[in-house]
Amino acid sequence: MGSPFSKRIVVIVSAAVLIILIFTFLRSNKEGFDSVTASVESISLISLSLVYFYEQISKPQSTFIYSSPNFWIVIALMVYMSSTLFLFIISNNLSVKEMKKYWAINNISGIIANIIFCIAFLVNRFVSRSPIFEKPYEDVLENP
């Protein structure tokens, strides 16, 4: 996170979300799926991802964005959260049978998100193996 403005936004949003989550959790009946908490979490994570993208666009960079693992992690989160957002929002209005039927959406997006997480790890490994990050060989041999 670069500019102080976006830093402040991230801190404020995170604090607000945490307070809302704790508050709703304490007030909920603690049975079944908690729609409000999950939706708030989704929306907040999507907005934070948008802040990340905004930052990436606004500051000039010399490396391609898709060579950074952070980018893939944010994509994974965003894909998962945006595809399950509507499911979480209306899950309170679904019957148990319908819920079982549509829960596949959650599972599929979970799998996709995990695949993208894998890409993030692979990218990380690839980047750290590029010559710039490699340690130069020592001039002195330790065991001659």
């Binding site: 948008l50 993208f53 990436q56 666009i57 000039p60 960079q61 010399s62 490396t63 391609f64 964005i65 898709y66 994509i75 965003m78 894909v79 945006s82 595809s83 399950t84 957002l85 509507f86 499911l87 929002i89 209306i90 209005n93 679904l94 319908e98 549509y102 959406i105």
Partner: protein
């Protein structure tokens, strides 16, 4: 199949869920694709700019190297063609047979050899002065430019004058040398190409800026001509001016006078004291 199932079912919630999810997903993917492409384009553009900058640097560097080589060749030619034969002739007068000659011939030979050696000394002095004008080193830019302009005026074909309005303290010697070389190159160009009948140089300061303006009434350059020549393969001298001024972080403008009759060249520099202050 899922789509059919959703469309067939009367359940409004299913519709909302289906289209909402698809819509959100499409938006997300669209956003991600847009960002990656946008960033890629920006980086490509930056790289292109960088490459252009590097090319420009390379041309300037090449020009200065070539100019240096030419200068060396000129010095070598001067020494070889002028000083060499003179000294060889002097040696001829002072050969081994010299002692066997009669007194008058001996005296004549010595006199001739002395004359030739004097000429050689003068020649070498001229060469060394053209390499590094002693007035510039000892008395500063004003005197050196005055000297140069007096020499031009002395030839009679052109009226050259200069006036320094605000030159109370000298700049750094190496900077003065660079400025002098730039002025020399510009004046040289005017003499060679412009067919002008007068050159007038004025110096001024304004705040932390140091200005030198040269006016002449011949055929001159405008800024667009200068930039065009700078990018092309010709115009070695201009490229040299550019690379010299780059060292001083100075600027140069070529323009036509308001009355459209004179050409004007302005060199703008930042005074050294101020740059050090700014850096400090």
């Amino acid at each position: 199949m899922v789509l059919l199932q959703v469309l067939n079912s009367d359940n409004n919630i299913s519709m909302v869920l289906f289209f909402g999810t698809i819509g959100m997903l499409a938006l997300t993917i669209g956003l991600i694709v847009f960002i990656s492409f946008h960033q890629r384009r920006v980086i490509r553009y930056q790289q292109q700019l960088q490459r252009m900058e590097q090319d420009q640097q390379k041309t300037l560097l090449n020009a200065s190297i070539r100019l240096q080589e030419e200068e060396r060749q000129r010095i070598a030619a001067d020494l070889h063609d002028d000083a060499g034969p003179l000294l060889a002739t002097a040696r001829l007068y002072l050969n081994e047979n010299f002692v066997n000659l009669d007194k008058t011939t001996q005296l004549q030979s010595i006199y001739n050899a002395k004359q030739i050696i004097d000429d050689t000394i003068q020649l070498i002095r001229n060469i060394s002065h053209s390499l590094m004008p002693p007035t510039l080193k000892n008395f500063g830019l004003e005197s050196a430019v005055n000297d140069l302009f007096q020499k031009i005026s002395g030839s009679g074909s052109m009226n050259a004058s200069c006036r320094f309005h605000d030159y109370r303290e000298r700049l750094k010697v190496e900077n003065e040398l660079i400025i002098f070389r730039v002025i020399q190159e510009l004046v040289n160009n005017i003499l060679k190409h412009s067919n002008a009948s007068f050159i007038h140089l004025t110096q001024n300061t304004s705040g932390s800026k140091f200005f030198i303006r040269i006016h002449h009434d011949g055929r001159g350059l405008t800024q667009t001509d200068f930039e065009k020549l700078n990018k092309s393969n010709v115009g070695l001298g201009l490229k040299n001016i550019q690379s010299r001024l780059k060292v001083l972080q100075g600027k140069i403008f070529f323009e036509k006078d308001m009355s459209q009759t004179y050409y004007k060249v302005t060199i703008e520099l930042v005074k050294e004291e101020d740059t050090t202050k700014a850096a400090g």
